[in-house]
Symmetry: C2
Subunit: 215 residues, 2 copies
Amino acid sequence: MANADTKVSRKDAILDAAEALFAEHGYDGVTLRAIAARAGVDVALANYHFGRKHELFEQTFQRRAEILNTWRLEALEACRREAAPAAPSVRDIIDAYLRPLMTGPHLKEPGWRNYYGMVAYVNSSVTWGGQLMTRSYDPAIGSFIDALKEALPEAGDEAIYWGYHCLSGALTLAFAQTGRLDHLSHGKVCSTDLEGGYLQMVDFITAGFERIGRP
Amino acid sequence: MANADTKVSRKDAILDAAEALFAEHGYDGVTLRAIAARAGVDVALANYHFGRKHELFEQTFQRRAEILNTWRLEALEACRREAAPAAPSVRDIIDAYLRPLMTGPHLKEPGWRNYYGMVAYVNSSVTWGGQLMTRSYDPAIGSFIDALKEALPEAGDEAIYWGYHCLSGALTLAFAQTGRLDHLSHGKVCSTDLEGGYLQMVDFITAGFERIGRP
DNA sequence: ATGCTTATTCAACAGTTGTTGAAACATACT
DNA sequence: AGTATGTTTCAACAACTGTTGAATAAGCAT
């Protein structure tokens, strides 16, 4: 068995290449040969390590999902500790949801940028959206829904879930970084500036949830 | 020239088929042969009417975009008239933006359902998102941005545009109808119930914009 | 009918697709 | 040294891809 962590294995090189290409062109827009070429390996190697193309896509997607879930749950746990014995505020919960993903040094890494593009693609894909997002993210997100329900005891379930839908839609569209905001605002706002968007989105989304908390 | 409106022409049949397939599988996931088969015509006919695959995709997308823009601008004009001589409220503007698309009898038509799936795909696609959404929708959306700026004179441009980003992300994710909300809510909320989501989203998004209006 | 224009099909092209079985290479253990 | 095990490449497969030019059908004015 070749060493798995000191050097970047070819297996990881395939995942990195797949990530970048899937993010830009989607599942069907990418060929195994393009992935292999980018990774500097033979076509057959992807098949050896990951099986069908389908499974390579899912493993690429899953790899960083687990990291993001950890970051988020840690942030939620931290804000729970700080607020104890009271329940954390809506704003703290939204912040714990967005901050780990929209701020920090990892935003500079091309790998993370690519992965965010994949999330945008998957989340609004009819084929992948329902299954894959649910499998990869919903367990962690359940904790956030619970926290929101605690913070907003008056809000109905329907309002909570559609509120989360707005949050998820806004975040994943930000991940796409299509440059559309740049066009629309005539350059005043930059799609790729996730940290700038973070400040704005926390205010906006928090207000939305606080509103559904009072009848 | 064959008649263009009394009977469904084969040209329209191709657009309908393309719409349904592009919505489900994206641009690269659909072959011209699949479109032709669904439309009941030969492969070459798509090329004869629309040129390259690229152009067929864009024309399919554009066809209903113009209709949606008309509906929206009429709704905005109507709420402007009702509010005159005052400026329309934030809520009225958001309502004019969402109601024409999220309510009404056209939601029952499979053609519109398919088209909404296409919008979801295009909006968060790195390849298409920036260019095609901008070209098809941004002229009309400029009027909504202007109206929001009037209604929220204290809000900064950055906050307005990121607010619009949240609105757009939430709407297009709703269009995807991936069924994820159904999983997450254990069946309490239905992804495909756009009219139910409309009521919730108007409240949520309106609160977000009203918040950025006061410092 | 005769012509003329538009619509539609047919047949085929050159290139690409995911996948696979066998062969070659590398590494570690004995 | 040999040998066993895990990696990687090579070569090829059958099927499918977008696109095109020529052939056929349909529609319509004359």
